[in-house]
């Protein structure tokens, strides 16, 4: 397997012309501008593939095909995605991806391994036998480019305690082994975004405190060993960024600030509160990147008998009708959350359109299915970016990647490497990135699997 650093094509004029993809040049010709904001919803447990995907026109499963969803009825959307029917012209669905690199990277820890791979496209960083993310997650890669240096770089939010099971706290990583903490309590989010205290000499002079700190960090530089120095340098850069942020946030004007939430702990109430505040933060440009880590749903939310969703139902989707039904309800529940995000952004007028027009919204999950499989990995992308992204499409890929993973049906191949989807998101956001970051894999027979480049069917 070979892994290459991300290819920043703009910086590759020297002898890298061959990597300049047709899709990129095509996009460059497009008249519109890419979206400036990015929202990620990340949910647990994958899906029930047969009840997530759909094929109303009876296309062959072993071919690639693209369908326009405009004329589809609710029934034709598929059971799990039905709540998104109203938005079918503002989203695209990709059916037939595979977390191929995750299959190839170690064994066990399937939830955690899928989390690390799905969001980074990179191999995990195994620490103490546990797979932490080995590179920046997609939202952070995008934040590198779209975030304003004088505002919040990104907001990491979670609902229901988030979804990293072993108490590891977050699936969003700034870089290798650098998880970004999440805010689960809506009250804390409110305090962070809107709770700035009164003005006074102390508040007005914070920039000079940070300036004094930068000086101290500078004085210490060179006196430490390189590893320690690196850590302090990272801290120093954050202090520097905070200085810009303090100045910038003082100039931000936010209308329609919601009242401070009063409670924390009810899943749907918390999500609504988080979403409301995130929408305001996006609309008044406090931040441009938001992620929601959707915690495990409970049996009660799904109308299932008392117990634990994961232990009682998740593994059984292929063997038990009841388990399949419960996990379908699980996917359905999150589809509604995704619809709520689209609706919230669409409700905010901006220019001649709405906030949704300038925001790329993505729904991804950890594993592909709750049986712990990595194949037929479900994704939905929507919102703005019409200039760069083709919306209203249902894109199907056959299982044509010559890699056998853990599949219930023991199929000898998998779907399209999901790196291709991550690359597509980057390019839709206008980032000149062509690999995320694994470029190729090899199967047991030594056959090469290409993981680079975008999904051209998605890009305008």
């Amino acid at each position: 397997m070979s892994v290459r650093r991300r290819n920043f094509l703009t910086a590759m004029g020297l002898g890298a012309g061959s990597l300049f993809l047709p899709s990129l040049s095509r996009r460059a010709r497009a008249s519109g501008t890419p979206p400036t904001r990015f929202v990620l919803m990340y949910s647990a447990q994958g899906t029930v593939p047969d009840r997530w995907s759909t094929n109303p026109t009876d296309q062959p499963a072993d071919h690639s095909w693209v369908e326009d969803m405009a004329g589809w009825s609710v029934g034709e959307m598929g059971e799990i995605l039905a709540p998104l029917h109203a938005y079918r012209s503002q989203i695209s669905v990709v059916d037939g991806l595979g977390l191929v690199s995750a299959e190839a990277d170690g064994s066990g820890f399937r939830h955690e391994r899928a989390q690390a791979h799905s969001l980074t496209g990179a191999n995990a960083a195994w620490v103490g036998g546990f797979p932490y993310a080995g590179d920046a997650t997609i939202d952070q890669v995008i934040a590198d480019v779209v975030a304003r240096p004088d505002r919040y770089r990104s907001l990491e939010l979670s609902v229901g305690g988030g979804l990293s099971y072993d108490g590891y706290g977050s699936v969003i990583y700034r870089g290798r082994n650098q998880p970004l903490p999440v805010i689960d309590d809506p009250r804390l989010l409110w305090d962070r975004l809107f709770g700035a205290g009164m003005n006074g000499p102390i508040q007005d002079n914070q920039a000079s405190v940070l300036d004094a700190l930068s000086e101290r960090y500078g004085a210490l530089a060179g006196q430490l060993n390189p590893v320690d120095q690196q850590k302090l340098d990272a801290h120093r850069e954050l202090v520097h960024a905070l200085e810009a942020q303090i100045v910038g946030l003082a100039e931000a004007v936010c209308d329609d600030v919601p009242a401070r939430p009063q409670t924390h702990g009810d899943y749907d109430t918390d999500f609504a509160a988080q979403l409301g505040m995130a929408t305001v933060a996006l609309s008044c440009d406090l931040t441009r990147v938001v992620s929601f880590q959707m915690g495990q749903l409970t049996n009660a939310q799904l109308g299932a008998p008392p117990g634990d969703v994961h232990a009682d139902f998740a593994h059984g989707i292929y063997d038990s009708q009841e388990a399949s039904d419960v996990m379908t309800a699980y996917g359905n529940y999150h589809a509604s959350h995704f619809a709520q995000i689209l609706a919230a952004l669409e409700a905010v007028p901006e220019g001649e359109g709405t906030l949704l027009d300038s925001t790329l919204v993505v729904w991804m999950s950890e594993m592909a299915d709750s049986w712990h499989g990595f194949d037929r990995y479900p994704v939905v992308v929507g919102g703005g970016g019409g200039a760069c992204l083709r919306l209203g499409r249902y894109v199907h890929f056959p299982r044509s990647t010559p890699y056998q993973g853990l599949q219930y049906d023991q199929y000898p191949t998998m779907g399209l490497p999901h790196q291709r989807f991550l690359v597509s998101l980057c390019q839709a956001m206008g980032l000149p990135i062509n690999a995320m970051p694994i470029t190729e894999l090899y199967n047991a027979m030594g056959e090469r699997i290409d993981c680079s480049g975008p999904i051209t069917e998605l890009l305008a």
């Binding site: 072993d166 108490g167 006196q223």
Partner: protein, 586 residues
């Protein structure tokens, strides 16, 4: 809502306020009240350490945890009346949230520090104590007061002597702020600056400046650096005046001096809190916060959701309090690993005493009240409890453990067994194989008991390798339901609590958790494991191959000492590994 999968749960914020609400922190204040490091102390002597055989892995730069920051601020300003600094949660590794691997600073962290230090310094100036050389308006000579105060504060905050450049840096900044804003704002801003320096937030060690690198690439630490390592390990806070004195006098350059100080420090109640934080993380106390009990199964006599909700909230509170009181008493009365695994003494409410079949000593009690959900106040009264010796033995049969490792309806022999293997024996089972077949598929019949339900794992060849080891120490817990209550029958069938210990020095069949605990109490494997866990905690990193000899020596010492936990702390602090630093692996 917390997932209880595979022994997991959300980390509880290790916060001083939670503790303070339960147990009295006054002793911290008393211990800190002798402020005496203002006199000039000369740099420590530079006597090189004798080169020992032990090699250690590279040091990890440690940033103070939230708990350590709050304790340090209390010691720095000599008051517990400060707003708590609240930082984004740290991501635990092996259960320990002080592991350097995942603690790189994040934007939210830096932002939180900047915000909270404003509140801390404002509160400190509202009610200044002896740390400030004048009244909070600056008194008759504000500049002199500012300078003398900051001169002392910077050395206490940096935990070492400072250079003239360093002193000029903070005094110069103070002068600028004073000129434009006056005394109080200038003082607050200068203090905020000190409290966000790397020197304060990190345990910064500057290797090789005045010490020669040993043949194995290790360098002895300065006395000041040893003092910081010691105090942040043993106290979760900054050194006190006596430790500063010992550092200045060069006493910490030799093992004997370090031992003497460590013994002294362990007698201070700050060490109790440090141990409590270690136990909370090692023994996964954070799971208590997330426990979910199915009311229909366990509280069917209750009328409605509100009633059962209150019951569960009070139950969680009782378990939280029990965890702390149990450990406090256990460390005072016994303090050995064997004692931890076999004591029959704990604390209980009248409700939890029922689940325990315990005898309460109602002549003593502690009443605890706590806001739950910012709305309801729950009040519980805890009494010392003696547990029936044939049903209970030590932590592994305590409610905080048993309930934390159970599902809402059924207890989980897997969660309990994995905990024993991972945390008590340091033999984490491999993660589940890639092809876990659903249990339903294997059943073919309705399980009669909880054990039946889980036996499918061991009957399947793909799972059996790990599950024999997990279930062998998991099924002995089958006498305890999801509330931790004793049961002789499960679903109308007699409980089968037989199991087997595998892969240790005490292998063999075992019946019930009492026998299991008593067996583990005599196990060298378990003793060795506890040393390894404490080593990870003390060094802020996972053990590395280079640590093998260091850890082996500590394990031998712990075993010979009868598993005395405080003794182990002294041995760790006195070890070469703790008193030197390595820059890179050999």
């Amino acid at each position: 809502m917390t997932s209880l999968l595979r022994g997991g749960g959300r980390p509880r914020r290790p916060a001083a306020p939670t503790l303070a609400s339960l147990l009295v922190l006054a002793s911290l204040l008393v211990a800190a009240s002798s402020l005496a490091c203002s006199e000039d102390v000369s740099p420590p002597s530079e006597a090189p350490l004798e080169a020992g055989p032990a090699v250690t892995a590279p040091t990890a730069l440690h940033r103070l945890t939230q708990t350590q920051l709050n304790y340090t601020l209390q010691d720095l300003f000599l008051t517990t009346e400060l707003p708590a600094v609240e930082l984004p949660p740290d991501i635990p590794v092996h259960g320990f949230s002080n592991n350097a691997v995942t603690r790189q600073a994040s934007p939210f962290l830096v932002e939180s520090l900047q915000r909270d230090m404003q509140a801390v310094t404002a509160a400190a100036m509202d009610a200044p104590g002896p740390w400030l050389d004048c009244t909070s308006d600056g008194g008759s000579d504000p500049v002199a007061c500012g300078h003398s105060t900051l001169d002392r504060m910077i050395r206490r905050a940096f935990r070492r002597q400072v250079s003239q450049d360093e002193l000029s840096w903070i005094l110069g900044r103070f002068d600028q702020w004073y000129a434009s804003l006056g005394f109080r704002p200038a003082m607050e801003l200068a203090l905020q600056t000190l409290l966000q320096t790397p020197d304060f937030l990190y345990i910064v060690e500057q290797p090789g400046l005045d010490a020669a690198e040993g043949a194995d690439g290790s360098t002895p630490l300065s006395g000041w650096e040893v003092a910081s390592r010691m105090s942040y390990f043993l106290w979760d806070s900054m050194p006190d005046a006596e430790l500063f004195r010992a550092a200045a006098a060069g006493e910490l350059d030799a093992e004997a001096g370090v031992r003497a100080q460590a013994e002294r420090m362990l007698a201070n109640s700050r060490a109790d809190f440090m141990l409590l934080h270690f136990f909370e993380q090692w023994l996964a106390a954070d799971l208590i916060e997330g426990i979910v009990i199915d009311p229909e199964t366990y509280f069917s006599e209750l009328e409605d959701e509100e009633e059962s909700g209150g019951k569960i909230a009070a139950f969680r509170l009782a378990l939280d309090a029990e965890f702390e009181l149990f450990l406090r008493d256990f460390m005072r009365d016994d303090g050995t690993l064997a004692g931890l695994l076999t004591t029959r003494q704990t604390w209980a409410t009248e409700d939890t005493a029922d689940y325990y079949n315990a005898t309460l000593d109602t002549s003593r009690s502690i009443t605890i009240s706590k806001f739950v959900g910012m709305v309801d106040v729950h009040e519980i009264t805890m009494y010392p409890a003696t547990l029936p010796a044939d049903q209970r033995a030590g932590f592994l049969t305590s409610l905080p453990f048993l309930v934390g490792h159970a599902h809402p309806v059924f207890p989980s022999p897997v969660l309990r067994g994995v905990f024993v293997r991972e945390r008590i024996l340091c033999q984490p089972p491999g993660s589940p194989p890639d092809d876990v077949p659903p249990i339903e598929e294997l059943e073919g019949m309705e399980p009669k008991t909880n054990r039946d339900r889980y036996s499918a794992h061991s009957n399947n060849p793909a799972c059996s390798v790990c599950h024999e080891a997990i279930d062998g120490v998991g099924f002995p817990f089958e006498h305890y339901d999801s509330l931790g209550a004793w049961r002789d029958q499960d679903n109308g069938y007699p409980v089968d609590a037989s199991g087997a210990v595998l892969g240790t020095d005490v292998d063999g069949p075992v019946n019930g958790a009492v026998e299991l605990s008593e067996r583990l109490a005599t196990s060298r494997t378990a003793h060795d494991c506890m040393v390894k866990q404490m080593y990870r905690y003390a060094m802020h990193r996972n053990e590395a191959p280079d640590d093998k000899d260091s850890i082996a020596a500590l394990q031998e010492a712990f075993w010979r000492d009868g598993g005395r936990i405080e003794g182990m702390l002294v041995e760790i602090v006195a070890s070469e590994a703790f008193r030197t630093r390595r820059e890179k692996s050999q």
